[in-house]
């Protein structure tokens, strides 16, 4: 799925509202994936992975249904999701920022870039801004070590990014007006 596809499907995707029953198609997606794994508790990580691919993220309501379908305690499912960084319980932003903190980027000041991103956006790494515009994640290596520090926003690579340039870069992705 390309970034643009993700954007389109996101708009069409029914919203999961905390405290309300899951939208029918989300529930069906979960059931279909769980059934494909024969509701086997040992396949929990694969199941979560596929659901996240499809639904975009793994909120409480989704995890509760997975637990119920697998017949395992809810806390086991949340325990796994909260342990692995690749799972997210919050929806990703309209713009996804991946900042590299691999060795090469790190020694060239990636940490300061990350700090600037965090302060500009008002969120910590792994989180999404309240307006849903940006999500910020730390990744280990983007395979562009010679260009460090590297930040990817959606499909764009921002090379040798300096902290001072962060506000201008972000402005390009903000909806105008």
């Amino acid at each position: 799925m390309t970034g643009a596809d993700a954007l389109c499907s996101e708009a069409a995707r029914p919203k999961i509202v905390p405290g309300e029953p899951l939208p029918e198609d989300v529930a069906e997606t979960i059931d279909r994936i769980v059934d494909r794994y024969d509701a086997e508790p040992g396949s929990l990580i694969n199941i979560l992975h596929e659901i996240q691919e499809d639904v975009g993220y793994l909120p409480e309501e989704v995890l509760s249904r997975v637990a119920e379908r697998l017949g395992v305690p809810v806390v086991d499912v949340h325990g796994v999701v909260s342990f692995y960084a690749l799972f997210s319980m919050k929806p990703k932003g309209r713009n996804r920022i991946a900042t590299c903190n691999g060795t090469a980027c790190y020694v060239r000041g990636a940490q300061r870039v990350l700090e600037r991103l965090e302060s500009e956006l008002g969120v910590k790494a792994g989180d999404t801004t309240d307006d849903g515009e940006f999500s910020l994640d730390v990744v280990r290596c983007l395979g562009a070590c010679g260009l460090g520090p590297v930040v990817m926003i959606n499909d764009d690579v921002h090379a040798r990014l300096k902290p001072d340039r962060v506000p201008a870069v972000l402005a390009r992705y903000r909806r105008s007006g």
Partner: protein
């Protein structure tokens, strides 16, 4: 089994293959400190306090999980070992909310005594601390994550022994919290309030919701008539809070002590246990003879009740409709007793002393108001009573032995054995046998339902009618029995289930430590107490006979149904997500 020879600290020892270094050392009388270890239940080697040197090994090994090998050379007391253990404990302390003098576990804390025995006199590591809110949402149990050392014993007991798993590790590394999913409050989860997690917590991260303040207030109020009831299992455990050996029978001193606190009347839950047997025994006979859902399952244990409501709601028709003794007593005190002595029931403050944390939840259930008031105002654990006695400066040893008050202080041996697993079954059989056969039991003891085996089965001949019974304690054991009932197997007529291992003597409100050895001692105390009673069958209790004559009429009669029986709430185990208030 093959034997393995090794040396520990230069001493030769021979043990079975597969034995851990920790147990091999025990055999030599060498004590290796542990913190997360819980025999047979939680052997993870997570805390690294039990590390030892093994010759040829690259690093120190955790003694609790490392099996012995032939020719192994182990050293448990070298500078490297001592330094490693000390650093580990110091690191734990650096992220521990250390407020020992005001902590509920002061002087009875494994972390505290470990630090003491290691001679830790300063905290070298003053780093970041995790700070999380204290969760006091549950009617029974308080969680203070700031004192949690992440040993996970509570998780293991909740999952393996109780089959509940309301809590688990959430998050990763420094951010890890042991708690319910999604940061939920314990009171909103499938937690059954059994309190077994409290018994195994090495620190003060889990403890009962305090009820002593409200009880002190009632005791100090001259307009309140404070009536106590004390559960069977408390009399063989309260002494431990004063350093007496486990299983010491302290009934008379406990009564005297409660009077010294200022109670107006001290009754015995054992009376209500006899009453429970009258109702439950007749209910069983009715279901057997006139038809009704079988097997019938006991309903005395409030942890068990919440468990079945969450996990086996389809089996609720199998539950006896009898309230627990605590709640029967509450309803009787605020009706029959109030009337008998001419007291305004609204002025009675009724306190129970229970080996149990789930009783705190039970007495707050909305259906437990059949007297027209809250039937039981406060439920104290054995531990809380111990604390109150100390606060009052009571020297337990010097107390006289005093009897319970009349008339609801009179009880039988059948009632006191409610405190041990199999006791309710045995008490019910003593009465059911005599009621059905109209003959005197040749021998009151039913040994087959006694003891610590997880699931016990027996068959009793009631004059040609065979009654098959099962007894389970610990909810994971209960699950085994219930799964068979669900599958239409088992073929039992009557099942006793107690939430806590060992029954109420091993309840979550009992003094700490409560382990296998302590449980056995308390069970011995319970059966000794039974033998000492002149009357050992519930239906022969004269005060019970009088209660039916003067007030209730007959077992399962109209008044009984109104006051002594109850209904249950199917809850389900996957609770709907609720929108949480913003932090």
């Amino acid at each position: 089994m093959a034997l393995v020879k090794l040396t520990i600290d230069g001493l030769p020892v021979e043990v079975e293959a597969g034995t851990t270094i920790l147990r091999a050392a025990e055999k030599l009388g060498i004590h290796i400190p542990t913190l997360c270890y819980l025999e047979d239940i939680h052997e993870f080697g997570a805390c690294r306090v039990c590390v030892v040197e093994v010759e040829g090994a690259r690093t120190l090994q955790a003694a609790c999980v490392t099996p012995v090998r032939e020719g192994m050379v182990v050293r448990t007391n070298t500078p490297a070992v001592r330094r490693a253990r000390m650093t580990t404990v110091e690191l734990i302390l650096s992220d521990h909310h250390t407020e020992c003098p005001t902590c509920v576990r002061n002087l009875n804390c494994e972390l505290q005594s470990l630090a003491e025995s290691m001679g830790i006199r300063e905290n070298r590591f003053a780093g970041a601390r995790t700070v999380n809110p204290v969760d006091s949402s549950s009617a029974a149990i308080v969680r203070d994550p700031n004192k949690c050392i992440l040993c996970r014993r509570c998780v293991s007991i909740c999952e393996k022994v109780q089959g509940v798993k309301a809590i688990g590790p959430v998050g990763r590394g420094f951010e890890t919290v042991i708690g319910p999913a999604f940061g939920d409050q314990l009171g909103d989860t499938v937690c059954v309030n059994c309190g077994q997690c409290i018994l195994v917590c090495p620190t003060g991260a889990l403890y009962e919701r305090d009820s002593t303040e409200e009880v002190w207030a009632a005791l100090a109020d001259p307009d309140r008539h404070v009536v106590f009831q004390t559960a069977p299992a408390t009399r063989v455990a309260l002494g431990e809070t004063y350093g007496l050996p486990p299983g010491s029978i302290v009934t008379g001193k406990m009564v005297a002590a409660i009077r010294r606190l200022g109670a107006d009347t001290v009754f015995d839950t054992d009376f209500a246990a006899d009453l429970t047997i009258m109702e439950e025994g007749h209910e069983l006979i009715q279901r057997l003879t006139k038809g009704g859902t079988l097997p019938m399952i006991t309903s005395c244990s409030p942890g068990w009740i919440k468990f079945i409501e969450h996990f086996y709601p389809d089996l609720l028709p199998n539950l006896s409709t009898c309230k627990s003794p605590q709640q029967m007593f509450g309803a009787v005190i605020k009706t029959y007793y109030a009337e008998k002595v001419g007291l305004d029931p609204a002025k009675i403050y009724h306190v129970s002393v229970m080996p149990c944390t789930a009783k705190k939840f039970e007495c707050k259930r909305p259906e437990m108001r059949d007297s027209g008031l809250v039937d039981v105002d406060a439920a104290l654990t054995t531990r809380e009573l111990g604390r109150m006695l100390k606060e009052a400066g009571i020297v337990f040893d010097e107390l006289p032995e005093e009897p319970y008050d009349d008339p609801l202080g009179e009880s039988t041996g059948a009632a006191v054995i409610f405190g041990a697993t199999g006791g309710v079954m045995e008490a019910a059989l003593r009465t059911a046998y005599e009621v059905v056969t109209k003959k005197t039991l040749p021998r009151v003891e039913f040994e087959a339902v006694r003891g610590l085996e997880g699931v016990k089965e027996a068959s009793v001949d009631l004059d040609g009618t065979e009654v098959r019974v099962a007894v389970a304690h610990g909810l994971a054991n209960a699950k085994k029995v219930l799964d068979k009932v669900r599958a239409g197997e088992g073929d039992w007529h009557f099942i006793e289930i107690m939430a806590c291992p060992g029954g109420c003597i091993g309840g979550g409100g009992q003094p700490i430590p409560t382990n296998l050895e302590v449980r056995q001692k308390r069970i011995e105390g319970i059966y000794t107490a039974d033998e000492r009673m002149t009357i050992r069958k519930s239906h022969e209790n004269p005060s019970i006979i009088a209660l039916y004559k003067e007030f209730l009429g007959e077992p399962l009669g109209h008044k009984s149904h109104e006051l002594l029986h109850t209904t249950y709430t199917p809850r389900g185990s996957y609770l709907p997500r609720r929108e949480k208030a913003a932090d």
